[in-house]
Subunit: 422 residues, 2 copies
């Protein structure tokens, strides 16, 4: 398995977190019992979930619910997870993108369209797993600092579960983004400060309130595992095989490393043939610390101050940067970044070829794929999957100066015909 | 079957529209060959699709694609429909809504959440069927007049299929709504006029351009059948049985009549036991002509001038009004209407209890269900399904003056604790 389990740490205090057996340090390998911890007590490295997977078969998965819970045997959640109220995200469309493939000059292309999730981003996946684990760990409040998709997902999941939520946002956030979290009626608190201030405040509050699960702070190891389901679904939807190439946007970098982890687990468990695959990372140039490290051949990521319209990817000090570099280099992929103008063109290209309206992060993915294809880094004859992780309805501001009606006319058929050249 | 087929009209000119055999007048029963017609040549009554269903079983449906195409044997589409590019909507979540049930004082409640469709409304269903039929009927351009959801769905479906689209909107539409259709890069044309002007223009253009399929005009009989899939899915997701009660929003009224038709077909085909069910209709008081007719005991619907925040339901002269009255009365249901304030409260109630953010039409459905329960018209001990047909992200203006952060604070844990009473 990806992470092995020491017998000593495998027994934990009556927790049912399914196949999860311990937390394991990604730096020093030290194992510690399953708990609401995120830093190694030995070296302060990041902890991740270690498993002892039981019998999981294609058939057992296919017989499961039409949501990420069909993969519950591979996640840190109890086996009866689907009996507790949650948003039950996942099993979003994998779209064969022939028109986009033709536009990009590649043979076989798929778009994983995560805009179909309950609050229309992949964050529903990680939050659902965080909620399920938090319930087992004894928490009663779901919380996060966020500027967008995560706030929506946490507020909605808590509402569905009947939990209190505490969602911290910068007070400068646009009104539309405030409304999409406020509607769920949890404790939405606007903080006079930037996202870093809000983040620091979350860490402070997590230490103070032992019944508050900050999904991306004190229950982060469980939360992060939710991204594995993107990888599982792609493989299942391709007919139980791995794609040759996958392009993943990078914010903290967690998603990319978990998709890689999912592909490895599926191969190790014999659920797919362990064929080689290459993982590609996508960033916006205005916040491209991982891309910069990749291009310079560095193992360490230098933090930057973000300045890009792709706000859901604007994490200047990405926690999983080094692990992203490792996964990309190990699989023979690459990392590239694109300008804000290219991001807008990426959104428009996906919309006009496939009818899918992605948020700015999706524009980053499409535009980066285009750049990597043109540079010969993505093989045009091999199969590629693009992860589209959020919805264009949430980032209308990014496209508003670029698109509009073809014409404004008087109400007459002659006027329409004239516009269209008849 | 719901509509039987005369042998004389069953043979049509090499069209493959699956089990569809003819168009049949809902007023006089006259049958006419499958074609792009919408009015009876004998009496000008509305035409609907008549079928000769083959062998359709639960197993054949369950083995089909994870989209509305699993019901292709019950729709006017070719048997290879899923091999042609389309948005492939449907199979959206049916959510067991225990917290909403408790708030409304009923025993068993489900929410059919159609916000998970590709452009986040049920319109993807009807447009997908219209596109599939239009392809068979020889059209090459997909078109519509619309103020919102339909425009999004047509522009996206045409983009995905590689078809031209012509989408006509009133030029006064809010910028956000223009953007969500413009992004797909079809011919979006803003018309200086109101929705009635735009609609009249569509009918004129449909007569003039024989390769333009106006989904809700010249291919309307096929388009409307797409709403049956809401009914099929509810029954399949309940484990192949009909609910006791269903609450459906009324715009043109077509959706309500098609859900009723779907339930009858499933019973007649033996796919479910033909248990009794009651259909309830929901309108906004500011546009409630069908509710008014129901309450007065009339069979005829008097047109009104709409004035409500529920714009996607604001059809003052609903074409299917009389058929709605018939279905509701025949099944023992009722029709009710709610004020704009109740609509907003309906949106908020659904969001805070189930984490589902509906558009104004969803608020109408929830608020109407509440009113019908309080009036004793919906049986609180019988099972009820609410159809939530569109997404709150598209009608933020309806809630913007009602919700917001609980507080705005300085970035300190003490300030958060004070707000939350610690």
């Amino acid at each position: 398995m990806t992470s092995t389990v020491d017998a000593q740490t495998a027994t934990t205090a009556g927790l049912d977190l399914g196949p999860a057996r311990a937390l394991s340090c990604r730096e020093c390998g030290h194992q510690t019992p399953l708990a609401a911890e995120f830093a190694c007590p030995e070296c302060f490295g990041p902890l991740e979930v270690a498993y002892d997977f039981g019998a999981v078969t294609r058939e057992s998965i296919e017989a499961g619910p039409r949501s990420i819970w069909r993969y519950r045997g591979l996640l840190p959640v109890p086996s009866d997870v689907q009996d507790h109220p949650n948003t039950d995200p996942g099993l979003t469309r994998l779209v064969k993108a022939d028109r986009l493939a033709a536009a990009l000059g590649v043979k076989s292309l798929w778009v994983k369209d995560d805009t179909g999730n309950p609050t229309h981003s992949f964050k529903d996946r990680v939050v659902a797993v965080a909620l399920a684990a938090a319930r087992q760990l004894g928490f009663t409040v779901l919380a996060c600092p966020s500027t967008g998709n995560l706030a929506n997902a946490v507020a909605a999941a808590a509402a569905r579960a009947g939990w209190e939520s505490v969602v911290l946002i910068p007070s400068s956030l646009e009104k539309a983004k405030i409304l999409t979290s406020a509607v769920y009626d949890g404790a939405l608190i606007a903080v006079d400060g930037n996202y870093d201030d809000v983040n620091r405040l979350a860490t402070e509050l997590a230490a103070e309130h032992e019944d508050w699960a900050f999904v991306n702070v004190n229950v982060r190891p469980y939360y992060a595992e939710g991204s594995k389901t993107l990888g599982y679904e792609v493989a299942e939807q391709l007919g139980w095989r791995l794609p040759d190439q996958v392009v993943v946007p990078i914010a903290s970098g967690s998603q990319l490393t978990k998709v890689d982890k999912a592909f490895r687990e599926l191969g190790e468990l014999g659920l797919v043939e362990a064929t080689p695959y290459r993982v590609f990372g996508a960033q916006a140039t205005g916040c491209s610390p991982v891309s910069a490290a990749y291009k310079s051949g560095h193992d360490v990521v230098q933090p930057v101050k973000p300045d890009t319209i792709a706000r859901s990817l604007a994490i200047g000090a990405p926690a999983d940067g080094p692990y992203v570099l490792d996964a990309v280099r190990r699989t023979g992929g690459a990392i590239e970044d694109v300008t804000d103008a290219e991001v807008v063109e990426g959104i428009r290209l996906l919309a006009r070829t496939e009818g899918i309206f992605a948020e700015t992060a999706g524009g980053v993915t499409v535009a980066t794929a285009k750049k990597l294809i043109e540079a010969g880094k993505i093989d045009p004859d091999a199969e590629t999957v693009l992860l589209i992780t959020g919805d264009g309805l949430k980032t209308l501001d990014a496209v508003q100066d670029h698109i509009g009606p073809r014409a404004t006319i008087k109400p007459s058929a002659a006027a329409v015909n004239e516009v269209l050249g008849f």
